[in-house]
Amino acid sequence: MMNFWLIQTLNGISFGMLLFLLAAGLSLIYGLMKVLNLTHGSFYLLGGYVGLAVLHLSGSFVLAALVGSFAIAAIGAIMERFFLRRLHLQELPQALLTFGFLFIFSDLATVIWGTNPQTIPKPTILAGALQLGGFFYPYYRLFIIVLGLIIAAVLWWLQDGTRLGAMMRASVDNEEVARALGINVSLLFTLVFGFGAFLAAFGGVMGGPIVGVYPGADFDVMLLGFVVVIIGGLGSLKGALIGGLAVGLLDNFGKVFFPELALFTIFAPMVVILALRPAGLFGRE
């Protein structure tokens, strides 16, 4: 019985870490550019598909993760530079544009990769399970948890400890003053959007062995990402992490205990938080 709770909790946390990767990008992009990126789930899905293709060609999981993430980061940067840029601060056209790209990528993915659900095989080193007495737990999920924590630490350091992070925080607070101070805000926009796409695509490759890569994952993942940032608050890393873990756990235990109303266990707490704190737990109004 003890084992059941521990395993389900770890499952929830590892899924939560994937959601964190996704929500961190959504949050960074919103924080800097005030863009609600509806294409974010597509970045996740495309990352998974490209990663899978690279894995089939090269047999290397590391290479799959790198190529998948960087390729999608490039797509994100191009999307920002040539499309989103023209709609700066126009939330409704931005929503239409990013939703359009969601459809475009979704349809292209079915043309290229078909409609069958696929899973990315785990790297062989992480294929086994940890055994402690009578307790078994797959290495791969533990790896995801550790990796998520490392990425969280790196993101914090990037935001609070580097010149780039300082430039970003300055632009978030006051874009015009930041420009006047000589910060290249335009370049920063492209970098941050690309980086958000990178994180989502990385999540797609890492989630491939657990969640799988399938048509419709873009919608599913986008919606979960939104729930995370609604709970945690847009524009906050802390919110993305705590929200991600909360939604990961709620999703997991919801599916175990109330399979018929699984989605409801995520949305009910979200509604409560909305009622109490419309900007989320750590969001700024």
């Binding site: 409704l92 239409l96 359009g100 729930v227 109303l261 989605l263 909305l274 009622a275 419309p278």
Partner: protein, 325 residues
């Protein structure tokens, strides 16, 4: 905003003769068109009303909802379930759908109206997903992703001789209800309430200073828009004889948003034109290729970049022959 409000109404100037011709044409359609094409026109009317209901919220009150399909779907499910399980007739099953859509909007409005802009978009989206989650997950009630098949189209009752199962009576039924809803919408938009909504769209703080209870007006607009979205939802359930979670999926919420923007928000007629165009394109294109979604995505991108104020906006721009006021 330099255009006077009477112009923005879109329906005002010199439309009398056009309206007469259009009415006659619409009444004559069943004698001209095949069953398939008549069905297409029914779909156009349904989605035109759906788009106009969102226009009340977005175009007039300035609230961009990305979850409007929730009310379309709630009404469709309510009507469908009542007709299917309790064999209720149209006159009870349809209004019940509208009432439930309105009540849900009252609840969701209390939550969503505390935010604006991108947050409002995201929260209306998330709230609509709550409803989608119930429709998808609660199999014993809604049939899950199999949906509700065989929703019956009953006779009209009230000693009227027509059965809605036939395409021509159903066409007239839809036409009458949509025309009724349209005239109500036009009335609302032209009423003091409608002008207050425009004021809120332009400047909430000014309206507050003028003594308006802005929050109450916004909530009323939110609920009204949901009720007007419910009617096309229920009609669509009868038309298809089927309801599924797709009715309230985000894709449908985004599609109706596209219809509104494509035509031109804040004009009523614009969103109706946008809806007709999208329904027409979807039916024509899908006959030739499986890549409709790709094309739809491209339409989204093009509209957002090149026609953010819609076809009406483009018309206003390219009208050199008429002196601008």
């Amino acid at each position: 905003m330099s255009t006077p409000y009477s112009k923005q109404l879109g329906l005002r100037p010199r439309l009398g003769p056009i309206a007469v011709v259009a009415t006659v044409a619409l009444l004559a359609l069943p004698y001209v068109l095949s069953t398939y094409h008549l069905g297409l026109v029914v779909q156009m009317m349904i989605f035109a009303l759906f788009a106009m209901s969102l226009d009340l919220l977005l175009g007039y009150a300035g609230m961009p909802s990305l979850g409007h399909a929730a009310y379309f779907g709630i009404s469709a499910y309510t009507t469908g379930l009542l007709a299917l399980r309790l064999s209720l007739n149209v006159w009870l099953a349809l209004p019940a759908g509208l009432v439930l859509a309105g009540l849900t909007a009252l609840l969701f409005g209390l939550l969503a109206l505390r935010t604006r802009g991108s947050y409002f978009l995201m929260i209306t989206l998330a709230l609509s997903q709550v409803v989608w989650g119930i429709a998808f997950g609660w199999r014993s009630l809604t049939g899950g992703d199999d949906g509700l098949p065989d929703v019956p189209r009953p006779a009209l009752g009230l000693h009227l001789p027509w059965s809605l199962a036939d395409s021509t009576p159903f066409y007239y039924f839809t036409l009458v209800l949509v025309a009724l809803a349209l005239s109500l919408l036009v009335g609302i938009v032209a009423s003091p309430f409608g002008y207050a909504l425009r004021g809120i769209r332009e400047s909430e703080t000014r309206m507050i200073a003028l003594g308006y209870n802005v929050w109450r007006y916004k909530l009323a607009a939110f609920v009204l828009a949901a009720v007007f979205a419910g009617l096309p939802g229920s009609l669509y359930a009868y038309y298809n004889r089927f309801v599924s979670p797709d009715y309230l999926h985000v894709a449908r919420s985004a599609e109706v948003l596209l219809m509104v923007i494509l035509g031109g928000a804040g004009t009523l007629i614009g969103p109706a034109v946008g809806a007709v165009l999208i329904v027409l394109l979807e039916n024509v294109i899908s006959a030739y290729t499986d890549r409709w979604l790709l094309l739809l995505g491209i339409i989204y991108v093009m509209v957002s970049l090149f026609a953010p104020s819609g076809l009406i906006g483009l018309l206003r721009e390219f009208r050199p022959w008429r002196a601008t006021p």
